[in-house]
Amino acid sequence: MTPLIEASGLTKRYRTGGVFGRQRILAALIKVSLTLQEGESLGLVGESGSGKTTLGKIIAGLLDPDEGMLTLAGRSSTTLKRLDRARFAQMIFQDPATSLNPKLSVGTQIGEAVRLTGNRIEEVEVWMDRVGLNREMCTAYPHQLSGGQKQRANIARAIAARPRVAIADEPVSSLDLSIQAQILRLLSDLKRSLGISYLVISHDLGVVAALCERMIVLKDGIVQEEGETSNILKNPQHPYTQKLLSSIPRLRTGS
């Protein structure tokens, strides 16, 4: 079966230092490959500087790789037009506070996603129901919503475009713990009801564990380990993965 996403040898470099400073070339991604099958969810785990967000943006079409090939649903990404790209993958951005336009109502922003599919604007309310937002919030502005509600709107905007892949960049990092659990449950439910595939980018192994069957561990732009989530969590092979797991503070029930 043709994988939904097939990436091989993706490399991306950034140049730092201005005209007067020393110019350094930083590699954000070095020869990264991955596959995502239809209906499955893949987690990209890494700490800051691992390249996971860069990888997500390349797949979403927001960045171009310097080297490597990206095939989406069997077609090379370079042959796809902007609208095809938009219908293939959408991104759920990280910080709900800055990922929504503060001057436009929530309904208008979700409406732009609906417009992409060519469906009628009334569908906006359906999507709001699906993400658990009160229909009255349609005319509300982002600053009138709570963190959790903003994130729901963020999610609605991405999936209302009916993409085949939703790329969630740190979907719950900036939320309170109790809200995190709600949003993770929402994403899980949507996965099942819409048959959408996820690419989940997170530094938090717990988030990936909740949403993804398979995962990739990244460090400094290089893949350290990949495989089924449950296997990796039970039996991490790579020392970096082991270090990641052991660094997570755990609830001690002893005194």
Binding site: A60, G61, L62, R82, L83, A86, R87, Q90, M91, F93, Q94, D95, A97, T98, S99, L100, N101, P102, K103, L104, Q109, E112, A113, R115, L116, Y141, H143, R157, A158, A161
Partner: protein
Amino acid sequence: MLIIYWRRLLKNRLALAGTFFITLLIMIAVLAPWLSPRDPLQQDLLSRLQSPSRVHFFGTDDLGRDVFSRVLYGTRVSLTVGILAVLISVLVGTSIGLLSGYLGGWWDGVLMRSVDVLLCFPVIFLILMAVAFLEPSINNVMIIIGLTSWMGLSRLVRGEVLSLKERDFIQAAKALGVPSRRILIVHLLPNAISPIVVSATLGVGGAILTEAALSFLGLGVQPPMPSWGNILTVGKDYMHIAWWLSIFPGLAILVTVLAFNLLGEGLRDVLDPRLET
């Protein structure tokens, strides 16, 4: 969104004060014919250079015209020129700033270097050159001031666009396939509007001062049409015997510019409070 701004405006003292005075000035401008005790153009050579009295509140000028009436009518000139000149500069500056910031690359380079070149000329020099080509009149003054004061605004808008361009919600709009034109007008512009509105409001004061200066030099509004600037022209020759010819138009300019500055400062708070990110 406008309702939210309106409510905030009503709570902001600076903005309210400014709005109050500006409304007053607009009413004076509109109702000048009814508020003026005399025809501002009516000369009365027997009553030249009379000091303020119950008959002539602000005295008379060198041709016996009632200064009070002339100052009232002068409000029309100042407000019209101030507001329309700023509108022109906002239109030009915002368009260029938006395009320059959003398109980047070659366009950005060409547009911004042109702005740099224009900014090298002292504004007064540009204005004088323009006036040399065109005859001095109220319309020309408006256009000239408008076309020589948009540069700063274009840089401001370009800066806003550059920082907004990378924000997630703009990336999201791009990712959704929203056409560039809509991104510029619906997404970017409303977020860049606050500094534009504030800058424009404060700019009205500047435009009024420039018009006054031009009219003072005889390059702006020509007598007999009254402008605060050209009343001052007469005043400068008679300063030692007719102080009222300088003080009253000067005060009018002061109050008007102050009103717009108050409103501008107040709008700054109304449009960009700490409530929004």
